[in-house]
Assembly symmetry: C2
Homo-oligomer: 205 residues x 2
């Protein structure tokens, strides 16, 4: 089970070492299938067709693999959202685009996203700050969109913090239930982007 069906290995396209990429993919599949705690480095190596000694040449521990999956995943969704909204002026179009990319990313990369969300407690403490920082930057970016829309008079928001939490939940929770059946990531992203504008009492022109 848990062969990845999506393009999630593209996340690591710029990692030069083929063995490193194979190990990240094997680790991701194992964590998704059995959970992080129940996965051994030996099992990850077997799935990647490598001996434990060969695994340790690339990643010193199971924790290092988890951290690398989490770091690259968190960086990717932040970068994709920022690239997409860059240069858009209208607060409504910016929030629509933000939510479209955020939601479709979590659908398309639901296996990585599940590890990102549900294995946070297993990130080594010395690296957790880096992940926390990426999450804080994502939340701040979304809050900035809400503020801009309220200031321009485009959005009506009763409670900024609760609305931010709700928008984050809409994107993140997709990773929990999305299976690839039904709506495509793009279709789901569009439907949720429409809902997000409704949530701030706005409509896209």
């Amino acid at each position: 089970m848990a062969e990845l069906d999506g393009p999630e290995s593209d996340l690591w396209a710029d990692i030069a070492h083929e063995s490193s990429r194979r190990l990240l993919l094997a680790a991701l599949e194992s964590f998704a299938a059995h959970g992080y705690n129940a996965t051994t480095t030996r099992r990850i190596g077997e799935r990647a067709g490598m001996s434990p000694a060969a695994v340790y040449m690339h990643y010193p521990s199971k924790q290092a693999l988890l951290f690398e999956i989490s770091r690259t995943g968190h960086e990717a969704v932040l970068r994709d959202v920022q690239n997409a909204i860059d240069g858009i002026a209208s607060p409504k179009d910016r929030l629509w685009t933000f939510m479209h990319v955020f939601v479709s990313w979590h659908a398309r990369n639901h296996t990585v996203a599940r590890v990102n969300q549900y294995e946070l407690a297993s990130i080594p403490p010395e690296h957790f700050g880096e992940i926390r920082d990426l999450r804080d930057r994502f939340e701040a970016a979304l809050m900035a969109e809400l503020r801009a829309g309220v200031e321009s008079g485009d959005f009506v928001v009763a409670d900024m913090d609760v609305t931010l939490l709700a928008l984050l939940s809409l994107g993140i929770d997709v990773a929990r239930w999305y299976t690839g059946r039904g709506k495509s990531p793009d279709e789901l992203g569009r439907a949720y982007a429409h809902l997000a504008l409704t949530l701030v009492s706005a409509e896209r022109e």
Copy 2:
């Protein structure tokens, strides 16, 4: 870690056997702290102050404990929501109350709710149908509220399925991030109930 801080053991107040209650609580704390896969029956017994043999007198397996936690949790939130909306006529007040109870339940019982959502894959196949049925009934109950509000003209909904998914995500995802700091379960439930009405373009009178 992972001593329960909430009133979640109340879920099992009507279980006659004190040892059974203690085991459910010990299992819940262990699953929440270490994940289901990494928890052993022996560890659950130790936490409950019981020998492995004594554990097996009450529950034949770790899976049986997981199923009992999941079944009682799913039954409780469905029953609490249904009791709360019973007798309310206005679609707006019904949806507001549904979401208030749904969200505050997931905040108040976030440890049980996390097990409910994230350990579904570990429910024994022969029991999964019973949990699936409880989840289907919950979704159908929420969909019935959406339909009633659209039919009465109180709600405007572009896509019923997507709106249902979004409302479910808003409640369920609370279990992922809620820590007990900040808003109380009741306050959070009120704020989210307001958002839910906004999502269907309605306002509470």
